[in-house]
């Protein structure tokens, strides 16, 4: 049980707990879509056993954040060559995340490195589902693009459905 959950008075130590983890940098436009979603979810009453966390630009810290959960639903901006705002549900087995082992930069592809590292160390990660959201822009600047903003309600519904 992480200090964060204890700090928030959440002592649900059930191994069935699900973490919804929003990733990204809200100072970089649509890259912050995961954080914006967390912000919205904070205002909702979540089903029992479902927790939500803004992982920000945590990079390799992801490994620690994912430990101890039964399931993790990650929401992050993803370049998939689709229309801005389009989101896709996938699992690590469905995709190839760009980043070869010799190009190891911790901000840019935290998730692929975490998966590779966990694999190299034979560590078991929680069951993982990823919602990739196609960004319109990830330049410096706050706020989501209209296309991604418009997709938020459907994204939240899909994420909650996945988590319960």
């Amino acid at each position: 049980m992480s200090a964060w959950r204890e700090a928030n008075g959440e002592s649900d130590s059930s191994s069935f707990a699900t973490l919804i983890l929003g990733m990204g940098n809200p100072l970089r436009g649509d890259d912050g879509v995961g954080c914006c979603m967390v912000e919205e979810l904070m205002h909702l009453e979540l089903p029992h056993g479902v927790h939500v966390l803004d992982g920000g630009a945590g990079g390799l810290g992801l490994l620690n954040l994912m430990e101890g959960w039964k399931r993790v639903v990650i929401v992050d901006a993803a370049e998939m060559g689709r229309e801005p705002g389009e989101f896709v549900r996938f699992t690590p087995a469905d995709v190839r995340l760009a980043s070869a082992p010799d190009r190891f930069s911790l901000h840019h592809a935290g998730l692929s490195e975490v998966l590779a590292l966990a694999n190299a160390l034979d560590r078991t990660l929680p069951e993982m589902v990823i919602f990739g959201v196609q960004p319109a822009s990830v330049g410096w600047g706050e706020g989501l693009s209209p296309a991604v903003e418009a997709a938020l309600p459907a994204l939240i519904a899909a994420v909650l459905k996945e988590a319960t």
């Binding site: 992480s2 200090a3 964060w4 700090a7 928030n8 990733m23 990204g24 940098n25 809200p26 100072l27 970089r28 890259d31 966390l53 803004d54 992982g55 920000g56 630009a57 945590g58 990079g59 390799l60 810290g61 490994l63 620690n64 954040l65 430990e67 992050d76 901006a77 993803a78 370049e79 998939m80 996938f90 469905d94 995709v95 190839r96 995340l97 760009a98 082992p101 010799d102 190009r103 190891f104 930069s105 911790l106 901000h107 840019h108 592809a109 935290g110 998730l111 692929s112 490195e113 590779a116 590292l117 190299a120 160390l121 990823i130 990739g132 960004p135 990830v138 410096w140 600047g141 706050e142």
Partner: protein, 429 residues
Amino acid sequence: MTTLKIDVHHVTRVEGHGDIVVDTRNGEIKECRFEVVEAPRFFEAFVRGRPYHELSHITSRICGICSVGHATTSLRATEKALGVEPPEQTMLLRKLNFHGEIIDSHVLHTYYLVAPDFFGVGSVIPLAATHREVVERALRIKKLSGDLCAMIGGRHTHPVAMAVGCFTHTPTAGELREMQARLVDARADMDETVALFATLPWPEFERETEYVSLKKDDEYAFIDGTVVTTDGFSYPIEDYRDVTNEECVPFSTAKWTHHNRESYMVGALARVNNNFDQLHPRAQEAAGKLGLKPICYNPFLNSAAQVVEMVHCVEDSIRIIDELLTRGIQPEQIPEIKVQAGEGVGSCDVPRGILFHNYVYDEDGICVKANCIIPTNQNMANLNHDMQALVPQIMDKPQDEIRLMLEMLVRAYDPCISCSAHFLTVKFV
């Protein structure tokens, strides 16, 4: 005489993007530089028009590695502008959170980004196969520091509990005791870390330069103090512009800085060089084993200085928790803040070096002007001068070796060039 052309786009294992360009003909350097292709920009645009209590949260998002550093620096700037003096417990908790981030950042850099060079592998992933215990140890230390940050700041990255003049959440005595026990246990990992890095053959390269850091009378400085340099200068934090002397250079989006010489260096090595006597005795002992003595002019040893600081921060965290437990940890009150117009400068020595935030507030506590100078920008000129001094010394070596050496030099500075977007690039299979 050799002719050499090296163009490394986006140096790997550096936080962000940077390119190395070297071009020599018949032994003469035509071009040799480290280019920054992206830097945190538009800082002022993010904070202008925003109320004082939001600034630390906004600025903590600049960087996923130094989020506590940015938040703390931002809070100090705001507190000085509004005349808020945080109570002692708040400052102790901030130091503890800060130590957590220093350990977190340094373990990442030394183990994941620097060590693979010495093991002759491209990254920490193949290292996990050949030196599993090394990678497991790094992960243990990273977990400890992440949990320390989460316990105080309320979140592993981007602290939520830090506020102007207080913490909105405090750890319990039980949590502090449990963390302290884990820190005591971590001494074994620290010893192993020092032993490991003491065996690494640091490249032999020296170039005299000026080292700039914070300094305090009563402790190894990370938060507040005065700005000092190894050339004997000392400035109040408010006079930071007299130190940084920022200027634009044509090939980089980052401004360069210089003080008494053509460039200066900030970061762990600068801190150790300026404040060696204030390191914990165990950290001083570690420095001895790593061959680090002030004033050290070998930039590659910045990584060794980071190992020394990890030892210091583990020891000092144990001490701070003792102090908090002796005092008795209390819930904190949100202070009454008299909103007024004013200006404040905050400075912290964050993992990569000295950081400045400068805000001007109007009478409603709205930010009307802001400036931020990050460590990586301050190191850019010095790194380039090092590169220009290093290339002639290694020009006769095979090109791959030169390339690796230059990449290692860049990595030694631990540059954080675009703490930034980290979105996934996905191909469906």
